[in-house]
């Protein structure tokens, strides 16, 4: 879903860049209010963790393989603002290291996969745990992870359509249809991971609440 340079119009790039900068600014404010120098190495390590976790791929069919994206995971584990910072830095690193996603499309990519996906996943997770009860936390985690992938793909499709690159009636069903499936994988990985961490090191799950 990393949009390369060339696909978005100037206006779309500028708008999403401003929105992302604002969102990231708010996240920095919220996070620096709560964390001390103690959490800086931890946040960096969590970024490296998300980055590396995306490389754990699993075979789907034929030669194709799927992997984790991690926005929901980060939001559930670390809270929405820390997850925005971490996912944005992961996207910047991927842009610099692999040239995966364009430099000027970075605003859009951060907006979709870090801000929208992270906040969306966190909202859904909190709402569902409230309605379904804490016992069904894994269901909430699954839905939140699925939702984060799908809503990011909707945002990407809209940006591509607004830029005039691809007609909306072609790109929206294609992107959303494909990511509805990918989201199921994301949801399953996320709950398997949360389940394991809860069984082994329950204390680590409290970070998002602190």
């Amino acid at each position: 879903m990393h949009i390369p340079d060339g696909f978005l119009s100037g206006a779309t790039m500028a708008t999403t860049a401003v929105a992302s900068a604002a969102g990231l600014g708010v996240a920095v404010k919220m996070v620096s209010r709560r964390i001390g120098e103690r959490h800086v190495p931890l946040m960096g390590m969590m970024g490296a963790f998300i980055f590396a976790a995306q490389m754990l791929n699993f075979p789907v069919v034929g030669g194709a393989s799927g992997h984790l994206i991690g926005a929901a995971l980060a939001a559930i584990l670390l809270g929405p603002w820390a997850s925005i910072i971490i996912m944005s830095l992961v996207l910047i690193a991927q842009c610099l290291i692999f040239q995966d996603g364009g430099l000027l499309a970075l605003g859009a990519n951060i907006f979709n996969m870090s801000i929208i996906a992270g906040l969306g996943a966190y909202l859904i997770y909190r709402l569902l745990t409230k309605f379904l009860g804490e016992d069904r936390r894994l269901v909430a985690g699954f839905v939140a992870a699925w939702f984060s992938v799908v809503i990011a793909s909707v945002a990407a499709a809209l940006e591509l359509a607004i830029s005039g690159t691809v007609p909306l009636d072609a790109v929206l069903p294609a992107m959303v249809g494909w990511h509805t499936l990918i989201g199921i994988g994301e949801g399953l990985i996320t709950i398997a991971m949360l389940g394991l961490v809860r069984a082994v090191r329950k204390d680590l799950l409290q970070m998002g609440r602190a």
Partner: protein
């Protein structure tokens, strides 16, 4: 240690010696001018290709490295670009009927696809020149000096430092899985989840250990560095030359 992430190529070229801030600005100007070139201005794309190629030559970037970069960019760009010519109409160049489907290849889409492909590749190459000639630590200090929030640059520094370590950890987990794995999509997904879980716990514990070790060595939350950044005449000249070149190519391509 695997070094698949470290893209810095040691060297002493004209570009290696420039101030990271100047390089960042020059590259940004180049990419903005390139991306804003209107669709189908082949003249401008040609000149920009020459400019990027010149940078590649000056930076002594080997051809194999460029091809590898291309292999990363193309899988994302090609499928999208292949569909575009069929979605935009214009003068019909080719048409087939498959069942109830009309597949029409139009020239508008073809021109758009070509332009997008060139923009994506050239901008990736330009970015490649930047990271090949600048150490990540210097780049971070440049970004920091340009006014990025300190919290972000510090966290990024940590992340980049430990990417290699955590990646090694992930590779060990994956190798362990690969020799034991016997198939099944659901089992595969579940085991990836469990691997991610243990990777998370290991990373968390490592962060605690690293923080403790840093405290012992006097860490107080600020990042200190021995050598400071300096902007020289050559840096100013490079940014100015790049701005003039990029803007004039962009404008010339529009009017010629």
């Amino acid at each position: 240690m695997r070094s698949s992430f470290d893209l810095y190529l040691d060297g002493a070229s004209l570009l290696h010696c420039r101030d990271p801030r100047a390089k960042l600005l020059a590259m940004l100007v180049l990419v903005v001018a390139l991306v804003l070139v209107p669709v189908g201005c082949w003249m401008a794309f040609g000149l920009f290709s020459l400019l990027v190629l010149a940078l590649v030559v000056v930076a002594h970037i080997p051809l194999a490295r460029l091809l590898r970069q291309l292999l990363v960019v193309l899988p994302f760009v090609l499928p999208a670009v292949l569909f575009l010519p069929f979605l935009h109409g214009g003068t019909i160049l080719w048409q087939v009927k498959m069942g109830g489907w009309h597949l029409t290849l139009g020239d508008t889409g073809l021109v758009l696809a070509g332009s997008i492909l060139l923009k994506a590749i050239l901008s990736a190459f330009a970015l490649g020149v930047l990271v090949a000639t600048t150490r990540m630590a210097d780049l971070l200090r440049g970004v920091d000096a340009l006014g990025a929030p300190r919290l972000l640059t510090t966290i990024f520094g940590f992340m980049y430092r430990y990417l290699f370590v955590i990646e090694d950890e992930a590779h060990r987990l994956r190798a362990g899985r690969d020799v034991r794995y016997y198939g099944g999509l659901l089992i595969g997904i579940r085991s990836v989840g469990h691997m991610a879980g243990s990777l998370f716990i290991r990373s968390y514990d490592r962060a605690e250990r690293v923080y403790g070790a840093m405290l012992l060595r006097g860490y107080d939350g600020t990042h200190r560095s021995l050598n400071s950044l300096r902007v020289g005449w050559a840096d100013v000249l490079m940014v100015m030359a790049m701005t003039v070149l990029a803007v004039s190519i962009s404008l010339a391509g529009r009017w010629l």
